[in-house]
Symmetry: C2
């Protein structure tokens, strides 16, 4: 717990600085987190005995994030083509890989890089306050679920995947996220307050699904944490597992219902 | 061989009719081939012991082809997000699937549906003659490689994947494709003759890679053919394995070097 507090004391102001500055400092940070996260995901798959095409994964991830940074989403399809063709080429050249290894390589790129890349897409939206909601939803959910579970937790949510989580904690997470989003919306996006509260609800459910998805992938691979980069938190994916899911949720919710 | 000739007598005029008409008759045909092809791909993976999320695969494939048909490529990213989120949801709800099953589901959609969908994108290009090159390259390569190998074939190309293919056949395939493309270019696209001959060369190599990729996936899965839909040819993927690869190749070659 102490390690987590120290990590927070360093991490939160750092994140605040990065998001406030936005633009290339933010883009570079997203790229760094995506590459390290992908490295951790591939490592977990290696523990399971798979053989992801890591170099290809990092190249394609960098390419896709560049596409996002330079707002050239029309090139995305071309990148997918190049990826599949390259995987086929690798499969034909080297028999140490299988089509399963190729598919897990792409899955990692979509799940980690493309999802996280939505932070960049959100930063490019006209309304510069929206990006904060990605982090507010994930952290309000996390914090309220933790304390909600601590004080009222009785019924297990899904003991097979995450033994400590409770239904009461999950509900507290959703309510906490709605409250935090409502408060933020009232301050900075007052014309959309109600919509932002609904986003707080939907986003919190998806945020918790993101957390559980990461736990399940780790259980499947047979690893406890994705790594040990952040003291008290494990790997970068252990810290960003919810953010992966809240980033596209906030982006699409905004483009569909607010913009 | 007789079965193949009969299939050809029915198949070639049918294809000629479908491409000449273009538009929705073509789009519907692409959709049918993609769904049946995906079904065959998933079946091969089931033989290997995997458990692809077939219903999700068909839904997403239909969605992506609709995106192509209505020229709404900007929605592609949103579809990828929905796919990954749905896979996560299925993984959390049902323990009979693993992240590997989810990733092979997506791989099938990209490899079969998205690749084949480039026929639709090519049909929408301004120059309506280009679409024929997708089929000319694949079939000229196939035919010339067959006879080239038959008459001059000595050295094996890659006996582990496809025991009958020879280097001489592969070269004859490339030359035949260049010749066929050159002839077609001379008749219908005379201002780009040289470029089309180069496309014939590049496309033929990729076409043969497509053929070998399909063989390798089948070998990996432990099936001889993808199915028995077309007499003498096996499944629809056995017949369209090269087309899968020539469709995006022709499309991107045109948009990059001709348009």
């Amino acid at each position: 717990m102490l390690k987590r507090i120290i990590s927070g004391v360093v991490g939160i102001p750092l994140l605040f600085f990065i998001i406030s500055r936005g633009d290339f400092i933010l883009y570079f940070s997203v790229m760094a987190v995506a590459i390290v996260g992908l490295y951790e995901f591939y490592n977990a798959m290696k523990v399971k005995g798979l053989n992801p095409m890591t170099t290809l994964g990092y190249f394609i991830s960098t390419g896709i994030l560049m596409v996002f940074i330079y707002s050239r989403n029309d090139l995305l399809l071309f990148f997918l083509f190049i990826t599949i063709i390259t995987i086929s080429g690798i499969l034909l050249m080297s028999f140490k890989y299988t089509v399963i290894d190729g598919s897990i390589t792409i899955y990692g790129v979509l799940y980690v890089t493309v999802f996280l890349g939505h932070i960049i897409l959100t930063d490019k939206l006209e309304n510069s306050a929206i990006i904060w909601l990605i982090f507010i939803i994930a952290w309000a959910t996390d914090t309220f679920a933790y304390f909600g579970g601590f004080f009222w937790g009785k019924r297990k949510l899904c003991p097979e995947i995450s033994p400590k989580k409770t239904i009461e904690g999950a509900i507290a997470g959703v309510l906490g996220s709605m409250f935090a989003c409502g408060f933020f919306g009232y301050l900075f996006l007052s014309e959309y307050s109600i919509t932002i509260i609904i986003l707080g609800m939907v986003g919190s459910v998806i945020s918790q699904a993101g957390d559980l998805t990461a736990s399940q992938i780790k259980r499947y691979a047979g690893v406890k944490d994705y790594g040990n980069l952040i003291p008290g938190h494990g790997g970068i994916l252990d810290r960003f597992d919810s953010i992966l899911f809240t980033a596209p949720t906030v982006f699409y919710f905004y483009t569909l219902f607010i913009k």
